[in-house]
Symmetry: C2
Subunit: 233 residues, 2 copies
């Protein structure tokens, strides 16, 4: 008799409009090389998702995804809208409840926070948004990848790759992570050392901060409202 | 009178079935943050492209793309099939002819080679396929990002991010590259040092090589045939 197609590990990546694509395409590439693992990329009503000019289709319906071992929430400019979607947040809470690992990349940790999943937990976030974590009762951690119990969170965008290797070594072992790392030739050599605010030239940090500031107030206000909704629960 | 929507720089990423998604989603995320730049992701007949379980839709028709400043060819297991597509290769040759920069990530350099664009040029490639470059008259270079005149090539998969920062500093300046690097928090901290064959533990390299070997002979033979087709030109 033929062996049934057993998929012992299920990883779910719940997308939303305005997600930052590299937040999940980075980890997805690494997860897609795992043995005996199904990576489910889903959205509300299986709607195609636009992200930074790319369109992702063929998605699963998030509300029909019954469970997962790893929930992996990406960040993006749309994270505030995601927090305001009852349907999306209900799926996050439901899937997190039975997941072995609850994880995020970038401002995805703010979504976990808004779902009430980070109370008293250390978590990473994009550097520009890290100070919003305490609004949700989380402890902001400047680590690139932060593990606190079954919560594993990555910092901004590209941290998702280091995060993925950490998650893989947790789910499997170091050897499996190293094999995928070699296959994807992950031996980074950034031509510049400007990837963190404390290392970027001051003029670069000032300019990036200046350009972000117009949208900052609006998003901070919406994050603050999401935190207020959380309190009575 | 309103300012016309001028897009002084056009970057074209020509996809094919079986592309490795992070080969182009990495650079795309960085390019998408550039000012006054249009990033066109295209495929033959604008067909949606499946890559590692993700489906990319809303693509441009590659044959309708009139020109570009930067041609950026990603790699992937489908690169041999891409080389065998007259339609795809005609587009690569046509767009390369007028491009300011002809670039690739991973085994995308083999496609550039098969298009006759790398004769006498130094180029990078995924470590496992780098030795195929001389078949196309190219000089294999083990650098993570290699520039030879107007040809800029990146090594395997994740090298596309270091590559993108290099391309951006060429197109604009270091400051622009550093601003995008900070915005995407690119300060990598791989948890393991296994991303290159000379650094990976021997057992990891052996196992990865062993697992690749069944598909290796077929792909090498097809690459060799693509190189033979090139000779009479």
């Amino acid at each position: 008799m033929a062996e049934p197609d057993v998929k012992p590990i299920t990883i779910v990546i719940p997308l939303y409009q305005g997600v930052t694509q590299l937040d999940f395409t980075g980890p997805h590439q690494f997860f897609s090389r795992l043995p005996d693992t199904e990576v489910i990329v889903a959205s509300i009503d299986a709607q195609p998702v636009s992200a930074d000019g790319l369109v992702f289709s063929g998605l699963h319906d998030l509300e029909q995804v019954s469970r997962c071992d790893v929930l992996c929430v990406p960040g993006g400019v749309g994270c505030a809208e995601a927090m305001e979607s009852d349907e999306y947040m209900a799926c996050i809470r439901r899937l997190a409840q039975a997941a072995t690992y609850v994880t995020s990349v970038c401002t995805g940790s703010l979504i976990l926070g808004a779902a009430g999943l980070l109370k008293g937990r250390r978590a990473a976030c994009h550097w520009a948004w890290r100070d919003q974590l305490p609004a949700f009762g989380a402890i902001a951690d400047e680590g690139r990848v932060v593990q606190d119990g079954n919560i594993i969170t990555g910092g901004g965008v590209t941290a998702g790759i280091d995060f993925a290797l950490t998650v893989i070594s947790e789910l499997f072992d170091e050897r499996t992570a190293q094999m995928i790392q070699l296959g994807l030739e992950y031996a980074p050599q950034p031509p510049f050392d400007a990837g963190r605010p404390e290392r970027a030239p001051a003029v670069v940090l000032d300019e990036v901060t200046r350009r972000m500031s117009p949208s900052m107030a609006n998003r901070r206000s919406r994050i603050s409202k999401a935190a207020q909704r959380l309190v009575p629960q």
